[in-house]
């Protein structure tokens, strides 16, 4: 009886989405180095609130501990990792091999990304690979699940994954917006089962995006991306440097004129979550160091 209770209360992204619950995923970035205590500290806050936890794969092309090892660590701690895999540093052989390794370690959720270019990170002199892109990566995972690799050879055992992809609802030109939707349709055709979006700060933009998706008859679960805004300087930095993220002026003014940055940040995040909740199947919160503030925000929503 004790073991049955344990497995029932284990977090699972696929379970949460299938049951129709409002799913919450968080994000953890591996450290630059071989010590893992800091990650375990932030995970302690996320243990009871997150259904799935993204493990970023060399985010912004900065060299860090690998996503596969960290995901396996999370699996051992009883959490449900979402293994992010990018196409920047790996050719198709390495990608297929890592997917099989992830399956053997018990990882079932995969998020397929193209990845930031190496010139944006701290090793700009490295050679970017980009052998396949994110749509072809989803196709590769589908082929592996059917029991074949990309060259047509049969595998000894078929893996099976819960596949995800990303989309950017804040694209600000006609070409970029239409192409994001076209690429999203391609990703769904090639087997994406859930979507996580780039961070939004304006619920209207998200609502317009979801209306458009409904017109295109896209029904798979979409998790809206939310970033915890730490200061107005961070907002200006994101407006200038991160593509697709736009913080509107009212929000920046709120952060500038406040005395208690933590409280305002939590208020902004809670309002955003409450506004987008009716339109999406869940949210994906990126805390960037403020993991301990996530549980109070989520408690306020429910």
């Amino acid at each position: 009886m004790a073991t049955k209770k344990q497995t029932l209360s284990k977090p699972s992204l696929e379970g949460a989405l299938k049951q129709g619950r409002f799913a919450v995923t968080c994000e953890v970035g591996p450290p630059k180095g071989a010590e893992t205590d800091e990650i375990k500290e932030s995970l302690a806050y996320l243990k009871d609130v997150a259904d799935g936890i993204n493990v970023t794969d060399l985010q912004s092309s900065v060299m860090r501990l690998g996503s596969l090892t960290t995901s396996s660590m999370l699996k051992e701690m009883g959490l449900d990792p979402i293994f992010q895999i990018t196409c920047r540093d790996r050719n198709r052989l390495s990608i297929q091999s890592e997917l099989l390794s992830a399956y053997v370690m018990g990882i079932r959720n995969v998020l397929a990304l193209t990845g930031d270019h190496t010139t944006m990170g701290d090793h700009p002199d490295a050679r970017p690979v980009f052998d396949i892109d994110s749509v072809q990566l989803l196709w590769t995972i589908k082929r592996l699940e059917e029991g074949f690799d990309l060259a047509g050879n049969e595998l000894t055992e078929k893996p099976s994954f819960f596949k995800g992809a990303v989309v950017n609802p804040g694209a600000n030109s006609e070409a970029a917006y239409e192409l994001q939707i076209m690429k999203l349709k391609k990703k769904i055709e090639q087997g994406a089962q859930f979507i996580q979006t780039q961070a939004i700060f304006d619920a209207e933009v998200f609502k317009r995006f979801m209306d458009r998706l409904e017109k295109e008859k896209i029904t798979i679960p979409i998790l809206a991306g939310i970033i915890l805004l730490k200061s107005d300087r961070m907002a200006n930095f994101m407006n200038k440097n991160v593509a697709g993220v736009f913080v509107p002026d009212p929000v920046i003014d709120r952060m500038k004129n406040t005395d208690n940055k933590v409280e305002t940040c939590k208020e902004i995040a809670s309002e955003l979550i409450r506004d987008v909740k009716p339109y999406c199947a869940g949210i994906h919160i990126q805390a960037l160091g403020w993991e301990k503030h996530i549980p109070p925000i989520l408690k306020g929503i429910n």
């Binding site: 270019h117 072809q136 030109s173 070409a175 593509a243």
Partner: protein, 177 residues
Amino acid sequence: MNKYTEIKKFEPKPKKFFHLLGVYRPLYWLEENLKKCLFDCRSCGQCILSTTGFVCPMRCPKTLRNGPCGGTENDMCEVNPEKKCVWSEIYYSNKDLKRLDLIRYFQIPVNRELEETSSIVNWLDIRIDGMHLAIPGKGNMIAQLFRLAFYIMKIRWRKFVHPGRYWHKHESHYMDV
């Protein structure tokens, strides 16, 4: 005995006349230089120019063939901020040519063994699939091809005669169509 060109990997095919080195080499030379001049071709050997409105997707720093990454800001590339995003160029060019539905095809991963080989010969040997020059069901094939060629020549002529009006400061190094 006549010498034939060997394009690696594929099922053995009967040797045709365009595999003869005396025919293949001038054909490849012509195709490569024409495409480089007009479209900034990167000689991938798996040409999908006809589906992308004659803008080469291998000019993208990430060589994406299925759609843009999420890094476009105001139609500018995030890796080279002075250049226009190649996929935005593809979209606007396809919109002008009324061929937007051709970018919906799924493109398989690039085959490195076909680099520096002639796409026309690869297409004739049915090694690649990308040449949708004339769309079936939209009229006579020859008429479509001629209309396409005249449209490209018209745009090129305009850009040559009125560079100030058509060459913006942030235009890509190669023209849109």
